[in-house]
């Protein structure tokens, strides 16, 4: 656990590297321990003062988390104000305004205990080498395949649509394509060629409507886990593959 090291004034000339507090609860627990306070009966005024003191000096505090530290300060002050407010009847013990905070602290304390157990195990395990350790780092290539998110797909689609817009198309209403038809078509193409280039395929559609339908079909197929969209590397084209473990298609309705 953290040792209680008296904070040295900033102009003291030397700096000790200390473990920083990862979050507000971390700091609170430390202060409670330092002041030897019973966690179930926290003197809010004392702890708030200490807490704000630390915050003001920005000492041993993960500054990326400053907002969260401030939020806790606000909560502490709020709790204090709740206690101070004059009331007709005294506060009942089960509506103690501190209760929620105490529950959270107790929970967090448990997590901290788990952390130290796991850290010990990690240390133990880091000293033994399993045969599996030698084989594990190999399938790196697999990891480079990025399964593309919906946003990536939508973004490429909209880029394509923008490009198409400038082509000054004249729309001739002709054949109408249904989702089901298109989906069968896509699955057929995939079965024949094993993969298709996402943008190329949409670009090859005759009309914008058809491209739009094709796009929705692809999304639908991805959702049904019949196909998978993969980008081999960042900035490469997105390819759509038929899943090997895909159930038989044609059961996807629109």
């Amino acid at each position: 656990m953290l040792e209680d090291i008296q904070p040295t004034p900033a102009d003291d000339g030397y700096l000790v590297k200390l473990q920083i507090f990862e979050g507000p609860l971390d700091l609170l627990l430390f202060l409670i321990k330092k002041k030897k306070i019973d966690i179930h009966d926290i003197p809010i005024a004392v702890i708030t003062r200490e807490y704000l003191d630390y915050l003001g000096r920005k000492e041993r505090i993960n500054l990326d988390r400053e907002a969260e530290f401030l939020l806790m300060a606000a909560l502490l002050i709020y709790i204090k104000s709740q206690i101070l407010l004059p009331r007709e009847q005294p506060i009942e013990p089960d509506v103690d305004p501190r209760k929620e905070l105490v529950d959270r602290l107790v929970d967090y304390q448990k997590i901290k205990a788990v952390c130290s157990v796991l850290r010990e195990k990690e240390d133990e395990m880091s000293q033994i080498w399993k045969r599996t350790a030698l084989t594990a780092p190999l399938p790196e290539e697999d990891l480079d395949l990025i399964e593309v998110s919906l946003f990536d797909l939508a973004e490429s689609f909209f880029t394509l649509m923008k490009r198409k817009q400038n082509e000054n198309q004249r729309v001739i209403k002709g054949k109408e394509v249904s989702m089901a038809e298109k989906m069968d078509e896509i699955v057929a193409v995939l079965k024949e060629r094993s993969f298709l280039d996402f943008l190329e395929y949409l670009d090859a559609q005759e009309t914008i409507e058809e491209a739009l339908i094709a796009f929705f079909c692809l999304l639908e197929l991805i959702k049904a886990r019949l196909v998978v969209a993969i980008q081999e590397q960042l900035f490469h084209t997105i390819k759509v593959w038929l899943r090997k473990d895909a159930p038989t298609p044609a059961k996807v309705d629109d």
């Binding site: 656990m1 473990q19 990862e22 979050g23 507000p24 609860l25 321990k33 988390r65 969260e68 939020l71 806790m72 959270r104 929970d107 967090y108 304390q109 448990k110 997590i111 901290k112 205990a113 788990v114 952390c115 130290s116 157990v117 796991l118 850290r119 195990k121 990690e122 133990e124 395990m125 880091s126 000293q127 033994i128 080498w129 399993k130 045969r131 599996t132 084989t135 594990a136």
Partner: protein, 178 residues
């Protein structure tokens, strides 16, 4: 089966992942499960008492060959690994919270820690120590996370139940407070 012990030894030796008893049963359909369990135990003991550098440990529910801690410095020299990477404090805290509250959402983890845990969860996902198991039936249908087999293997646990129970934790906390 006479040479069952050798067969099991061979199977564990070539396995890429910890070899579970279920897997052994799949391979050795003709052998009763109790025989497998007993023979495995005998095999583990043989290695334990042989005085050699190799032993068989049980981790993530399966068996795997491993070296002993005292040889760690030499293994690292051979593999040219300065030091094994450890989890950061943030990541470990997030992982502990997931392990104890799974299946759990990002918002719940963040609330437990009073710290936004999106990034930590992301790192843990990347390291395959946790996985997404679905969505919670709640507003926004947030993703639910669970720990993985790799999590168990990483900490040398056989099951999530191997983690200290509530009572054990309380004892631990009292010791620390004392």
């Amino acid at each position: 089966m006479e040479n069952l012990k050798e067969i099991l030894e061979a199977l564990i030796f070539i396995s890429v992942e910890p070899l579970t008893v279920e897997k052994m049963k799949e391979v050795l359909t003709e052998v009763p499960e109790t025989d497998i369990a007993q023979t495995i135990q005998a095999l583990v003991t043989t290695y334990e008492t042989s005085g050699g550098a190799i032993r068989i440990i049980q981790t993530a529910g399966g068996y795997v060959f491993s070296t002993k801690p005292e040889h760690d410095p030499y293994v690292r020299r051979l593999l040219q690994i300065e030091r094994k990477k450890k989890l950061s404090g943030q990541a470990l805290e997030t992982l502990s919270a997931v392990a104890y509250h799974q299946p759990v959402t990002q918002a719940e983890i963040s609330a437990i820690r009073s710290v936004d845990s999106t990034y930590s969860l992301h790192t843990l996902l990347e390291n395959k120590l946790i996985k997404i198991v679905g969505r919670k039936e709640a507003p926004g249908r947030p993703l639910l996370y669970r720990t993985t087999e790799k999590f168990l293997a990483y900490f040398g646990l056989n099951a999530v139940e191997d983690l200290p129970s509530e009572e054990e934790l309380k004892k631990l906390m009292q010791e620390e407070n004392a």
